[in-house]
Amino acid sequence: MKKLFPCIGLCLVLLFVTACATSGIPAKSSLSDDLGSPEKTALLRERADNFWSALSNEEYEKVYYLYDPFFRSVTDINSYYGTMGKVKYHNFNITDVKVEGNVGFITIDVVYSLPKVKMRIQEFEVPPTEGAFTEKWLYIYDNWYKEFYIHMIEMGTAEY
């Protein structure tokens, strides 16, 4: 029993220290008013890197939560899973990052492929191919999110 008290005491001290540490961390301030500081630009690069790393590694839950909240508010994660995995991304390189207020632009080189897929009577297949494009990111209250956007019809779920 005597040995138990120091353990309980240690646990309480650890709990106290943890609580203090948690409450002592200031809440991350919003950068909504920031027009394009180095901090905001670096954060965008980090988030875009996270996104494309997750996509290359087929970590689709991570990918899902990096999409803008407007898309996520109308698409649950299970529906999203069903759309993923057809196109494989092998490699990527972010070549440029530009921030204009709460809209960010990532220019990226990507190597992708499409393994053989059959749709009705037609088969499609794309070998590893290089592509380069610029994609839009949105800073929404607390962080950068990749805009869900279909370029073919120039429309996304965020209306701004």
Binding site: V74, S79, G82, G101, N102, R120, Y139, T157, Y160
Partner: protein
């Protein structure tokens, strides 16, 4: 292709059924198929068909968005805020069950106006006159339309019995106006779809001379004219005026017509035409500054849009008309107008020019009671044009201060921003002021009605705020207030 047809059919069904979640699932399926085809560089025809499908499908979030808005609109919209010069501020809105509620913002007292209503209520007109508040709406029972009216007296202590101003005789629609005088006259004006002769839509009025206890039978104000769809009403200095966008029966030309009454609506003057006009798509309430009577409207001549103005210094006998030239060619979204008592008129508007992707918020100011106009001024202080600014509302104080609020998407989520001038619109602040935490909420102003009012030294804003990032999550009606004391906004 059959699979695509099938998906499209399902989407249309879901659109009708307003099942957003399933629609998005189908949408994502289409995205997957199209991505596959695009990546493989498949047949151009298939690509084009897919684009067509996407256009239809993506009308779903767009239309679905509007549809969902209209569903959530049942909770609040239309909502209105009104005040008088004694500091009374009232708001009217629909609750989630379709109850039409009127709330005194200062006391918090709230009254249910359509309790016991037989069926669905819609439309709203609100007017405040000292301790009296007047409300009118339409109740639809199958194909029968009742125009209802109810008054609040003693600042909210007494609620009168609901009246029926029209029992389907005019087939009243939801554009309703109420104005009143301190002497007890109340005029209600509306448009109805009862076909009269060759006219599909007509404007009617009914008046009370005992603070809304009893009303006259409806009087049609548009005899001899066709298809009058924008009822307007102004009561000022014992006179009431209406301006109506109509068509002549003979040559079918569009005209702006005018009538007035000097006896609280018992009798109306003959119809006079201000001028032949183009196609009107938006309308502003008329107003009077000193003895000058004004009316503005947004019109187009040969597809070129412009704000047109008319004023009269002789109570409507003769008119001077003109254009606010800087607005020519502007694809106008909405506009709102305010004035002080010294001849300053402030126009706030949103729109975009050809080639611009996003709408901006502008002001135009007249310092000589509408005789001349200053330049169209971009009100927003923001260096990038990736995001839009829309739905401005303007209010002025008697002392020469003016404030404009609008919905700004610079934070991607829609936030209410404010600008103000303390020198009658000559200069504005260097920085736009958010009235809420930037980027945290999606907040919107009511379209086609004043969202901002000034009373007792304070500006009041009525807005709706989504509970999340989707219309489906519901929304809250919110009040914001600020003042311009001590040279700044608080």
């Amino acid at each position: 292709m059959e699979a695509l047809h099938s998906l499209h059919r399902k989407l249309l069904i879901l659109q009708v059924e307003r099942d957003t979640k399933k629609m998005v699932m189908y949408l994502v399926s289409l995205a997957r198929i199209s991505m596959t085809i695009l990546v493989t560089g498949e047949d151009r025809m298939i690509r084009n068909v897919l684009i067509l499908f996407f256009l239809c499908v993506f009308a779903v979030p767009a239309l679905g968005g509007e549809t969902l808005i209209s569903e959530s609109m049942l909770r609040f919209e239309p909502f209105q805020i009104r005040s008088d010069n004694k500091g009374n501020v009232w708001a009217a809105y629909y609750d989630i069950g379709g109850g039409l509620r009127v709330r005194n913002i200062k006391s918090g007292k709230e009254l249910l106006m359509n309790e016991g209503g037989e069926k669905f209520s819609k439309g709203l007109a609100l007017n405040v006159q000292g301790d009296h508040v007047f409300v009118s709406w339409v109740e639809k029972i199958d194909s029968r339309k009742l125009l209802r009216f109810r008054a609040i007296h003693d600042g909210g202590e007494t609620l009168s019995e609901p009246l029926i101003l029209d029992d389907n005789a005019t087939e009243a629609l939801t554009r309703i106006k109420i104005q009143s005088t301190p002497g007890g006259d109340v005029i209600v004006l509306w448009y109805g779809e009862k076909v009269v002769g060759k006219s599909r839509w007509n404007v009617w009025a009914s008046s009370s001379h005992d603070d809304g206890k009893t009303f006259s039978s409806p009087v049609m104000l548009t005899e001899g004219y066709l298809h009058s769809i924008y009822p307007t009403l102004l009561v000022e200095g014992g006179q009431a005026y209406t301006f109506l966008y109509s068509q002549r029966e003979g040559d079918r030309k569009h005209v702006m017509i005018f009538r007035k009454t000097g006896d609280g609506g018992r009798t109306w003057s003959n119809i006079s035409e201000i001028k032949e006009i183009g196609v009107v798509t938006l309308f502003v309430e008329p107003f009077k500054v000193g003895s000058r009577l004004h009316v503005f409207w947004f019109t187009s001549y040969e597809d070129v849009r412009v704000i047109e103005t008319a004023y009269s210094d002789d109570e409507g006998d003769t008119w001077t008309t003109g254009f606010i030239e800087d607005t020519r060619g502007l694809d106008l979204g909405l506009f709102d107008v305010a004035h002080d008592t010294k001849g300053h008129i402030y126009l706030a508007l949103s729109g975009k020019r050809e080639g611009e992707k996003k709408a901006r918020v502008y002001t135009v100011v007249s310092a000589d009671n509408g005789t001349t106009w200053g330049p169209l001024t971009n009100l927003r202080n923001y260096p990038y044009d990736h995001t839009k600014a829309v739905s401005p509302s303007v209010a002025a104080t008697p002392e020469g201060a003016v404030a404009v609020v609008w919905v700004d998407y610079r934070n991607i989520r829609s936030n209410i921003y404010m600008q103000y001038s303390t020198d009658s619109g000559r200069t504005w602040q260097n920085k736009d002021m958010p009235l809420e935490e930037p980027g945290r909420f999606n907040t919107r102003l009511r379209l086609l009605d004043h969202s901002l009012t000034f009373s007792g030294g304070h500006f009041y804003v009525l807005a709706s705020r989504l509970h999340g990032d989707s219309e489906a999550g519901g929304s809250s009606l919110i009040f914001l207030d600020f003042n311009l004391q001590n040279g700044g906004a608080q």
